[in-house]
């Protein structure tokens, strides 16, 4: 019953969303004004190399062939799916001939390490502290905390990040201003290397965690305040039910429901990288990679990163859909 009526249609929908998403990502860069072949030639010229006009056309043809851009869009599209079925996103145009997957694998640990930790930390912190503050919203400390968060929350992210960078990287020089680890160090599982990585991650992580926690705090506080006013909470209070039980089983249990969905969506977005963070702190993650891919018209690399992100988000949404009835009995598979 469940498999035929719910799971199979839901899985079909899942694959359809991925298929459509990847298709759109295939065509959009091709409509963009940057032509990767021209960009490559311009790149070569900008290095001062003289190119004989007679050869330029030959080069254009050769590059078009190499990049897989010959033939109609439809032909390219077919070739793309054939390649993708073997797990191959092709080669990067601008770090030719490195395969796209190699570049992604290199950047992925940095981004996931940075974003997974900060997302989970700020979710936990924001929800727990925000929840308690929402329950005790008449207390002075709760109002004070709310005021602080209200001040932090609207700071534009890039201003906050740059501010941290200037203050602790330049004025006080406590933390490095760029990179994921010191230049020239080879990755290893030694304490000094890990400390080095943590030192580099500290400022970007702080910038993400502080603003993230402030935002989770505010949502969570608001949700808890609303749940607190619900009839079933008032009723349990009228009934003299123990306060700890009311807080955990009546308020937090119900306030958590929308926050679970939000957490899953935030985790799904990890794989598209933290664009501004990684640019501000020159962090070697997916966001930086995507930024350079877009600015140079590196179709294959764009495709690779965005496809990954599409798969990540749709998968997490699928998981939330499948497990949600465990949290909320009102939701049914149908």
């Amino acid at each position: 019953m469940f498999i035929r009526n719910y799971l199979i249609p839901r899985l079909l929908q899942y694959f359809l969303v991925i298929f459509l998403g990847i298709t759109i990502v295939f065509f959009i860069p091709r409509m963009a004004p940057t032509n990767p072949v021209e960009r490559t030639i311009a790149e070569i010229r900008s290095r001062g190399t003289y190119l004989d006009p007679a050869y330029v056309q030959q080069m254009v043809d050769a590059l078009t062939e190499m990049y897989g851009l010959s033939g109609s869009w439809l032909q390219q599209y077919k070739d793309f799916w054939v390649r993708l079925s073997t797990g191959d996103f092709g080669v990067s145009f601008f770090q030719f001939p490195t395969p796209v997957m190699t570049l992604i694998k290199r950047a992925l640990p940095w981004t996931v390490g940075l974003l997974f930790t900060t997302t989970v930390f700020s979710w936990l912190f924001g929800n727990i502290v925000g929840g308690i503050a929402g329950y005790a919203h008449n207390r002075r400390w709760s109002k004070l905390l709310d005021g602080i968060m209200m001040f932090i929350r609207p700071i534009p992210y890039y201003v906050f990040a740059l501010g941290l960078l200037i203050l602790f990287g330049y004025v006080y020089r406590k933390f490095p201003i760029a990179g994921g680890a010191s230049i020239g160090r080879t990755p290893s599982f030694t304490l000094s290397y890990i400390l080095d990585v943590l030192r580099h991650a500290f400022l970007p992580a702080t910038s993400l965690a502080v603003l993230g926690a402030a935002s989770w705090f505010q949502t969570s506080k608001l949700i808890v305040q609303n749940v607190n006013a619900e009839d079933f909470v008032q009723y349990a209070q009228l009934g003299g039910v123990k306060e700890s039980r009311i807080i955990f089983r009546y308020i937090i249990r119900n306030a958590m429901l929308p926050q679970i969905t939000n957490l899953a969506l935030s985790l799904g977005q990890i794989l598209s990288g933290a664009l501004i963070t990684e640019i501000v702190f020159s962090y070697p993650g997916l966001g930086n990679l995507l930024y350079s891919a877009i600015s140079t018209g590196d179709y294959n690399l764009i495709m690779g990163i965005i496809s990954l992100s599409i798969v990540a988000i749709t998968t997490l949404v699928l998981i939330v859909d499948l497990v949600y009835p465990l949290f909320d009995p009102r939701i049914r598979y149908k």
Binding site: L238, G239, G240, R253
Partner: protein
């Protein structure tokens, strides 16, 4: 009336909503001088139109007032174990100890009073475990099962989530839950509102059964005079935060003294009479801005000059009490009778 029979007594009880508004305060006089004596082993009805302060009175009696509602004057005294207990003088823990064991509450709108993510049996367990010590989960489940079964409700509801129950069933579950620990006083706020007549009958019967079994006091608030006629032993009519008339229910229906009560009763349809029913003209007054004198005078066809100036005292005529200048000469003033 013998004092030993009285289970709940209030004297000139006032509870106001004090709201901070730009440039000062707004005071909503939802309960404005209520003196009551409610007896053991009776169903006491409180009637009145929407916005007259019925629910606020119930909350004040149940000692469940939260800001901006404030107790302004008076006290709420319960007779418990031969002593009078002032609920507003109790500490938080002592008050919590009274809840459900001594007094229970059936709130308005049973549609949303159960935690949507918990089965009914878990709600039962929470209420039981908060008031009974040293019982295992299995024992508490047995108590809940016996209780539900004895009241004639299907045991399967314990395994249901609230959204799987009908409105009438949820209301009955709420009433059953209130009777769980055999309390001396049960407050039921509009338990039949939003239910159709057939379901109303079931709910009313359940209340009556519980009262007949426990011989306790049920305080029933509803604007439905038909329910009052069927269920209550004594009836109070509330208008603009005050009790304007109180008597045994039969007596009120036979001989209403206050013009407002007369309107309420005359608006009920009767067999064989197809004529238009007449209701009180106009709208109930705003509790934040009450008329001078008797609050009913702007709508009263029998208003006299004195009604605009002075608020009528409650006078006592036998078992009948009324606050109306029309009857001021006929009985003794309330203070003499109630002190």
């Amino acid at each position: 009336m013998q004092d030993g029979d009285v289970v709940l007594r209030t004297d000139n009880l006032r509870a106001h909503y004090v709201l901070d508004i730009p440039g000062g305060q707004k005071v909503v006089r939802a309960v404005d001088g209520v003196s009551l004596q409610i007896r053991r082993n009776e169903i006491y009805g409180i009637a009145g139109e929407s916005g007259c302060g019925k629910t606020t009175l119930m909350k004040t009696l149940y000692a469940a007032i939260n800001r901006p509602l404030r107790l302004v004057s008076g006290s709420v005294l319960y007779a418990k174990d031969g002593q009078e207990l002032d609920v507003y003088a109790l500490r938080k823990r002592e008050l919590r100890g009274l809840r459900w064991r001594y007094m229970a509450y059936v709130p308005q709108g049973a549609m949303s009073i159960f935690n949507p993510v918990m089965k009914i049996k878990e709600t039962y367990r929470d209420f039981l475990s908060s008031h009974l010590k040293g019982k295992t989960a299995a024992e508490m489940f047995e108590i809940a099962k016996d209780h539900i079964d004895k009241l004639g409700l299907p045991i399967s509801i314990l395994e249901a989530y609230p959204h799987q129950l009908s409105g009438g069933m949820r209301q009955r579950v709420a009433i059953a839950l209130a009777a769980l620990l055999r309390p001396s006083v049960i407050f039921a706020d509009e338990p039949t509102t939003a239910l159709d007549v057939v379901v109303q009958r079931g709910v009313v019967q359940l209340l009556k059964d519980i009262q007949a079994d426990l011989h306790n006091t049920i305080i029933l608030v509803t604007h439905d005079m038909g329910i009052h006629a069927n269920v209550t032993d004594r009836l109070a009519i509330m208008y603009a935060g005050r009790i304007i008339e109180e008597a045994p229910t039969v007596e009120i229906f036979r001989n209403p003294l206050h013009p407002y009560t007369q309107f309420l009763i005359n608006s009920l349809p009767q067999f064989g009479d197809a004529g238009q029913r007449v209701s009180a003209p106009g709208q109930p007054p705003s509790l934040a801005d009450l008329p001078s004198g008797c609050a009913f005078h702007p709508r009263c066809p029998k208003a006299m000059p004195i009604c605009r100036e002075l608020r009528p005292d409650t006078i006592v005529i036998g078992e009948h009490r009324a606050a109306c200048w029309l009857h001021a000469e006929r009985g003794t003033a309330q203070d003499a009778a109630y002190s």
